[in-house]
Symmetry: C2
Subunit: 197 residues, 2 copies
């Protein structure tokens, strides 16, 4: 194998979900693709690092100083949904039902991996709340250990700021088959049962 | 989503085995990665198209005019193993047991996809054989419809050139469990049974 090919494979292997075999397949595809495609891909990768930055308000990734969601005056400005990543924001946007704003933490607290709250965009969130116009914060981190720890930490630091803090509901997902749901989810879903009207 | 991000995702989706979700994950990873990594990946992709070409003898991909395998005088020069792709060549090289040379067709005959023999590197193979120094051609295309069709076509065009033509053995793979082997493989393995000593 040539050195250029080895180098490309090594770089591709660092991408998430890409192992040795996939990296090889991708490298060979690029090598045998049309020159236009390889050039376009190469430039798109370089370009994305140049043009993308964090929104000055919500820390979502954007090409402008202020992202489209924060700029949108039709959205409820006193409601903030806190998410761990831009991908989670996009998932919620796809529901087409949430009309407030967001705040992107860019991570979750994970002591085992050495990620403390200082690595997240929490100061920016506190600054937004300190301005006094925010009524409610919906914490939408994942319902797992890291996500819950992050939610608890946020509750702690938001408490003195006189704002309502809520957590997205956790339970059996829509359309699921009870038979195949894991024990922890079922246990929590039963604990968190809601009275029917 | 910003236009630069959409563009990158569209390009990534064209890679083999990468769907919408994977393309998104890769794009976000690149976007949030260190600038050095994105730059290195971008340049490696551009570079691979510039430096890689086909070996003048065997059509394998290489950075030189003649590939390392063709240059290697320790390899048996009168034996050619015909493969569909550089990946198949690498798989055979990994066995560390084949010591002849190769010829890379860059495809297989697939009439349903409009790929006829004229799209493969068959003229280059015939030219090598016509020089008269080749004793045997081992056809190592996949044991499926396209691979078998390609093998039959090659047998036809090689026949007049007075060279031995063989096909890699097909059967139950080493370590397999007969119970789980597909019908066609089993049927062919029984047909191609070998007398035990």
């Amino acid at each position: 194998m040539t050195s250029s090919l080895k180098g490309l494979i090594e770089l591709l292997k660092q991408l998430p979900g890409i192992g040795e075999k996939s990296a090889q397949r991708l490298a060979f595809f690029i090598m045998e693709s049309k020159r236009d495609y390889a050039l376009a891909l190469s430039q798109a990768i370089q370009n994305i690092k140049k043009v993308i930055r964090e929104c000055k308000i919500c820390c979502n990734l954007t090409q402008e100083e202020i992202c489209e969601i924060c700029k949108d005056t039709k959205r409820t400005q006193d409601l903030i949904c806190v998410v761990s990543s831009p991908q989670d924001l996009m998932a919620i946007e796809r529901t087409n039902s949430y009309k407030g704003t967001y705040h992107v933490l860019h991570g979750t607290i994970a002591p085992l991996e050495g990620i403390g709250p200082e690595r997240l965009r929490i100061p920016q969130l506190l600054k937004r709340v300190q301005k006094g116009k925010i009524k409610e914060i919906i914490i939408s981190t994942n319902p797992n250990m890291e996500g819950d720890a992050t939610a608890l930490y946020l509750l702690e630091v938001l408490k003195p700021l006189n704002v309502e803090v809520s957590r997205i509901a956790s339970g059996v997902p829509h359309g699921a088959n009870i038979e195949y749901i894991d024990q922890i989810t079922l246990e929590k879903a039963i604990e968190a049962r809601k009275k029917m009207q």
